[in-house]
């Protein structure tokens, strides 16, 4: 048997099945009957989402990438509700390799949109956890407010995230993160930070 290709080097897992499942997983999941009320569970995922926010604020991108499953998606839809990424452009739709591309570019020192770099502080709240049909997966919804300062001023980016976490070796990894900006279908100034 061939060893599985390294998703950081070649992109085999972004295929029709992934897209189909992605659209399905991110449709109609925030249902009351799937919500997990137990505060222990909510705390567990709240800590993970808060940690991710802190790593991004501190530009600790290697640690950030390590929170993700090897085959992962970072998805910033350009249409409210997500749209269908097979048929529509997204603001960003990164697989593992393109996430690493994104970080690589920011580190070249020649990414003028981030030279000087933005300073950010993320506020995360309203963390809710939802069960899925698969025991090893949880969906998490959280609201965010990013205060971003760069060069000539301060601005705020606001929205909510849908995280799909999967359990692997006793650890929850982020398989998909969908970042829903409330103004995702409007023209955005300098959207060059990792949201």
């Amino acid at each position: 048997m061939q060893p599985a290709p390294d998703p950081a080097i070649s992109s085999h897992y972004v295929n029709n099945e992934l897209y189909r499942k992605l659209v399905e997983d991110f449709t109609d999941w925030q249902r009351e009957e799937l919500a997990i009320a137990a505060s222990k569970v909510r705390d567990e995922f709240r800590l993970l989402v808060e940690r991710e926010a802190r790593l991004l604020d501190e530009l600790r991108f290697d640690d950030w990438l390590a929170m993700y499953a090897p085959e992962c998606i970072y998805w910033v839809p350009g249409t409210p509700g997500g749209g269908d990424p097979r048929r529509e452009i997204a603001i960003s739709f990164d697989d593992r390799r393109r996430m690493e591309d994104r970080i690589f570019r920011l580190r070249t020192g020649y990414a003028w949109s981030q030279a000087p770099k933005s300073r950010t502080v993320r506020m995360i709240s309203n963390v809710e956890v939802f069960a899925t049909a698969e025991g090893f997966a949880r969906m998490v919804r959280s609201n965010f407010l990013i205060s971003e300062f760069r060069v000539d001023g301060m601005r705020f980016l606001s929205g909510w995230c849908g995280h799909r976490f999967v359990q692997s070796a006793e650890r929850w990894q982020i398989q998909v993160r969908q970042v829903n900006l409330i103004d995702c279908d409007r023209n955005l100034r300098n959207p060059s930070i990792v949201l």
Binding site: R87, R97, W112
Partner: protein, 455 residues
């Protein structure tokens, strides 16, 4: 019915010495910073010439509409109930309220939210509440919605002008229709569908984007991070725009000025002309290896042509003042104010109604969405940062000039051909010098703009 606009407007020639502001080798900073010049542009450019509004695939059926802008004027671009494409001013004839506040939809009737006047999508007034309270005759055309008198399409691209004296759209486009045709005709049946967009904005004058659209000089500097990124895993660093490295002036690519402010940067001669030639230099995208292998398994050698459809077409086709075809994008520049501009990169998808691609169309579009997201994410953001920094730099009012003289005065470098097309190496600023001459001519003019109302 045509209606002359009698409102007092600035007489441009009295305001500035345009020949002083726009010289052979340089332009004055004021053309980027002066609000009065910007206001005049909203008439003399974004009004008097053919301006791109949208693509027919955005309003495919009768009664479909999208809301857009013509300069600063809010417009409802629609296909009326009989199928005619119209550009209505999004403005109630009564008190001026916008009639439609959605981005897109389908409507036979637009009803003003303020006092309930309603209009057919031809622009004709349908009814006003309690008409007994009026002494006037509502059949008078003045109560119909104003609309842009000239709306025309070229192969699906919809343009409009308020200027009755403008040439026909076909004459306005002139020879740039050839690269537009070639851009379309690499798709089955020469057709595309607009599929959402990467929507960006910058704090800078709109011309900074148009100055950049044909610029081959900035690429390896402004996009250095992108070039390093997309070649980081490549055995041979030939991905994307790598052909700009080393000596771009001797590469076979070229810039062509094609009249009326339009220009065309043709980078295709840099790429080996063969099936799969474009795909071979496309940067890595989500799904690249999976879809390439799946298509090759299924189609053999024919897969290479299909993969080229997911690859960026190496051209920049720039139609003055606000429309650009590049890669697989339709890029639209929309001025907001003298120092703010929206730049929208509409994605395009392949359509294959008669099965030329034997069922591969969905796969190739899934891949094409991802290749199209690359440049706005990792390239355009850096250009826009540089445009903003130009606008900041131009606050130095004592340092007045912007230079655009690359290639000027070098014997044999810039060639004018028998058909009037001017060509030069891809890094030359000849396209800026030529389009800004056209801008100057338009700014000196006194166009008589008109609106139309249904009779």
């Amino acid at each position: 019915m045509l209606e002359k606009l009698n409102a007092s407007r600035i007489d441009s020639a009295d305001l500035y010495d345009w020949d002083e502001l726009v010289q052979e080798d340089r332009v004055h900073r004021l053309i980027y910073t002066d609000p009065t010049i910007f206001n005049l542009e909203m008439t003399n450019i974004f009004g008097a010439v053919w301006v791109y509004l949208g693509h027919e695939s955005q309003i495919p059926a009768n009664d479909d509409y999208i809301t857009v802008r013509l300069g600063l004027r809010p417009i409802i671009l629609l296909r009326d109930s009989l199928g005619r494409i119209r550009a209505l001013f999004n403005r109630c004839a009564h008190r001026g309220t916008t009639l439609c506040r959605k981005d897109k939809g389908s409507a036979r009737i637009f009803t003003c939210p303020y006092h309930g006047w309603s209009y057919l999508n031809t622009g004709k007034l349908r009814a006003v509440p309690w008409p007994d309270g009026y002494a006037c005759d509502f059949n008078d055309a003045r109560y119909n919605v104003a609309q842009v008198p000239r709306v025309d399409s070229y192969r699906g691209f919809i343009f409009a002008t308020l200027n009755p004296d403008a040439p026909s759209l076909l004459d306005y486009l002139g020879p740039i229709t050839t690269p537009i045709d070639e851009w379309l005709d690499r798709q089955p049946k020469g057709r595309i569908r607009v599929c959402e967009a990467n929507r960006l904005k910058y704090k800078g004058n709109w011309k900074l984007a148009y100055d950049n659209s044909g610029d081959g000089y900035h690429v390896v500097f402004s996009h250095r991070s992108l070039l390093e990124m997309e070649n980081r895993q490549a055995d041979v660093a030939n991905r994307g725009m790598s052909y700009y490295k080393n000596s771009p002036d001797t590469a076979p690519m070229y810039i062509a000025y094609m009249g009326n402010g339009h220009h065309f940067k043709d980078k295709r001669p840099n790429i080996q002309k063969r099936a799969g030639g474009l795909w071979a230099v496309e940067g890595p995208a989500p799904g690249s290896e999976h879809y390439a292998e799946a298509l090759r398994r299924r189609f053999g050698a024919k897969a290479e042509d299909i993969l080229d459809l997911a690859s960026s077409e190496p051209v920049n086709i720039n139609v003055f003042p606000n429309f650009s075809l590049l890669g697989n994008h339709i890029q639209v520049f929309e001025p907001i104010s003298v120092d703010e501009t929206d730049v929208t990169w509409y994605g395009t998808a392949v359509i294959d109604e008669d099965g030329t691609l034997e069922g591969a169309v969905d796969d190739i579009n899934a891949l094409r969405m991802r290749t199209q997201e690359q440049f706005p994410n990792f390239g355009e953001v850096d250009d826009l940062a540089n445009f903003e920094e130009i606008q900041r730099g131009l606050a130095c009012r004592e340092d007045e000039w912007i230079y655009m003289h690359r290639g000027l005065g070098l014997p044999g470098r810039v060639k004018t051909h028998a058909n009037g097309i001017i060509t030069a190496p891809a890094t030359d600023e000849v396209f800026m010098r030529e389009y800004i001459k056209e801008w100057k001519r338009l700014m000196k003019a006194t166009p008589k703009l008109v609106v139309q109302r249904e009779p």
